[in-house]
């Protein structure tokens, strides 16, 4: 589904090289965890895959079902079925979460969705995530706590039904109960829809709740080691220092 080969990217303004040759293949029904210390390029990889203008690709390729992702704008990538759950979801004053869900849902279906059915679905997922219905009338991420923002990201994920999900530190800013709630919804969605998931995280903690099929360790813009779930456990015991030369 997703095939990344020797992907290299740098910051658009400062021309600072960050991704130095990433290779990664992800199939439907697979969960890949990407772990690594701060500054290893995890977030840049997420944003580059989604097409953030702050980064420019200097080499390599990223293909989604054979289509060259790097040539198309973020909205077109979204329409192909790619979803990025943000580490720091952006505030958009005056646009309510509920209306935004509908607007973004309508961008990918030709006929507009039946509003009754749609809100029923939103209600159900919101309940799974312990989001109060009144929160849907709240401006997108404005003045929300870290936990509320992350839950709103997962709500959007479940409603938009993407084929490839990239979650950038979805666990940061969540207390243990919220983490369990969010993980439960991700697991439900995965089980019912079997998308491909790339789970980017700094800590092993979330992997106690979501079991990855593959674990990759990133350092200085490269994947330096890949393995199964045991790799994460080893990492938790030994820390990053044993993996990074």
């Amino acid at each position: 589904m997703l095939k990344i080969s020797n992907l290299q990217a740098r910051t658009t303004k400062e021309k600072q090289s960050i991704l130095k040759g990433i290779d990664l293949s992800v199939k439907s029904g697979e969960i890949h965890a990407i772990m690594g210390p701060n500054g290893s390029g995890k977030s840049t990889l997420c944003k580059t895959l989604m097409g953030h203008p702050r980064y420019e690709v200097t080499g390599g390729s990223a293909k989604f079902n054979g289509e060259d992702l790097l040539k198309i704008s973020p909205d077109k990538r979204a329409k192909l079925g790619i979803f990025l759950g943000f580490q720091n979801p952006v505030e958009v004053p005056g646009v309510t979460l509920g209306s935004f869900l509908r607007i973004s849902k309508n961008t990918r279906t030709k006929e507009s969705t039946n509003p009754v059915k749609f809100f029923k679905e939103v209600e159900t997922v919101a309940k799974n995530l312990k989001i109060k219905p009144s929160f849907l009338d709240h401006s997108l991420n404005e003045g929300s706590s870290g936990g509320e923002k992350k839950r709103a990201e997962i709500l959007q994920m479940s409603i938009l039904k993407p084929k490839l999900i990239i979650l950038d530190e979805i666990d940061s800013g969540l207390d243990i109960d919220a983490l369990k709630t969010v993980a439960k919804e991700i697991n439900r969605f995965f089980k019912e829809n079997s998308p491909a998931i790339i789970l980017v995280t700094h800590y092993q903690r979330i992997l106690n709740h979501i079991s990855p099929h593959f674990v990759h360790i990133m350092s200085e813009g490269r994947i330096i080691k890949s393995g199964g779930v045991k790799l994460a456990e080893k990492l938790e015991k030994e820390g990053y220092k044993n993996f990074i030369k």
């Binding site: 952006v90 004053p93 005056g94 646009v95 973004s104 961008t107």
Partner: protein, 424 residues
């Protein structure tokens, strides 16, 4: 009978307008005095350049053609009361029968002068004196059309009364005059929409609106101004709020070349409150010099000003505000907030808030922000499937929403649509 007047405003023309309207002597005198003031008063030296207005080349009075009337009646709104002004005279008014039976008056200003001379004379020109400013004087001399509204004591009008103004003729000045009186405990919402289609030459709109909210009355006045982009829109709007009365201006300006309009509220007696909320859009070649004026003239009066502006393609928005609290107005509260959104680097936003407080026991707050659309916001929205244009439009609508959501549904939809067209 000829349809239009000759170009230029003269004493003879003022007399002629008054005679055609079959006005009482006092109104003719009033017009002539105003004409003197208009002729003597220089153009204001602040605001924007008005020297391009050629007062001699404008047409000051046009009688509407029957043909237009028919086309309007076909599309007339079905709810509330509707008055439509084509050129100078209001040619259609529909008022629900039950409102008329309650004693509610909703008439064109000239027919109110004929039918209700006493109440008319008692209030006309008491809120905006004819010598207030050059354009108020011009309006007082040349006024034609506009609405007269009177709501009797303790009468509540649920649906908004609506008026629709339109400029159809080239170089046609429009000087409608509106007077709204809500008697003690009465409530009314008045809405006006202004458009002008494809006027090839510049034109002038100089309206005067006077509002009087008596003890405990509530008046909301909503404007959606979408004049074509070669119209000078120089309007004087002012309200008096008496004991425990509430006046609210909701002013949306999208059109015109230059708008200079600062709705004002005089909080004249204890417990009065006022609200002035505005939304302005300025695109290429446009300047919205708008604002709000509130005068706290009695204790325990409260006010709120919310101004939101969007500038694009070199458009310019100016907020010009006055907030004044007189000595002795203890317990006064006021909150002013001005937010500007700039859609590119060429566009301009200015803020000139004047706050003068002469009493200590008050609470007055002022905040102002200028923001731009951030790359991170665009990326976030686009990552959910919105095109760049849709993302910009969402951000703009989100910015404007606190004002737009207060409009009745069909107006809100229309305004959103107009904003989207401007932003494309």
């Amino acid at each position: 009978m000829e349809l239009g007047s000759p170009k230029g405003l003269t004493k003879q023309l003022v007399e002629d307008i008054s005679r055609r309207k079959n006005e009482p002597e006092w109104m003719l005198k009033y017009r002539l005095e105003a004409f003197e003031v208009f002729s003597k008063t220089p153009l204001p030296k602040w605001g924007d350049d008005l020297s391009e207005i050629d007062f001699k080349d404008l047409c000051y009075y046009v009688k509407p053609k029957d043909k237009i009337k028919t086309s309007w009646e076909a599309e007339k709104d079905s709810f509330g009361g509707t008055g439509a002004q084509f050129e100078s005279e209001v040619i259609y008014h529909s008022l629900q029968k039950e409102l008329a039976e309650k004693g509610v008056i909703f008439e064109s200003t000239e027919s109110a002068l004929q039918k209700y001379p006493e109440i008319f004379k008692k209030h006309f020109g008491t809120v905006v004196p004819l010598n207030d400013n050059k354009f108020a004087a011009l309006n007082s001399a040349a006024w034609s059309g506009g609405s007269f509204v009177y709501i009797p004591k303790n009468t509540k009008v649920d649906l908004p009364l609506q008026a629709y103004f339109r400029i159809n003729t080239q170089k046609m000045g429009q000087f409608e005059r509106t007077l709204i009186i809500a008697d003690e405990g009465a409530q009314v919402h008045y809405m006006e929409g202004c458009t002008a289609y494809s006027c090839p030459t510049e034109s002038l709109h100089a309206a005067v609106v006077e509002i009087i909210a008596k003890k405990g009355a509530k008046i909301q006045y909503t404007t959606i101004q979408n004049w074509s982009k070669n119209i000078y829109n120089l309007v004087t709007k002012r309200a008096h709020a008496h004991k425990d009365a509430h006046v609210s201006w909701l002013d949306c300006n999208l059109g015109s070349k230059l708008t200079m309009k600062y709705p004002a509220i005089f909080l004249k007696e204890t417990g009065a409150s006022g609200e002035i909320q505005s939304l302005a859009f300025a695109g290429k070649g446009q300047h919205q010099d708008a604002g709000a004026k509130i005068f706290h003239m009695a204790p325990k009066t409260t006010s709120k000003i919310v101004s939101k502006s969007i500038s694009k393609d070199g458009g310019k928005n100016t907020y010009r505000g006055v907030l004044k609290v007189d000595k002795g107005c203890k317990g006064t509260k006021s909150h002013v907030s001005c937010n500007a959104l700039l859609l590119d680097n060429k566009s301009i936003s200015n803020t000139y808030p004047l706050i003068r407080v002469e009493e200590d026991e008050v609470s007055v707050a002022h905040e102002a922000t200028v923001s731009r659309i951030e790359e991170s916001q665009l990326f976030y929205l686009m990552s959910r499937g919105l095109s760049k244009e849709e993302a910009v439009s969402s951000i703009v609508n989100g910015f404007a929403n606190p004002i737009i959501k207060q409009l009745p549904m069909d107006y809100a939809l229309e305004l959103n649509r107009l904003l989207e067209l401007e932003i494309e």
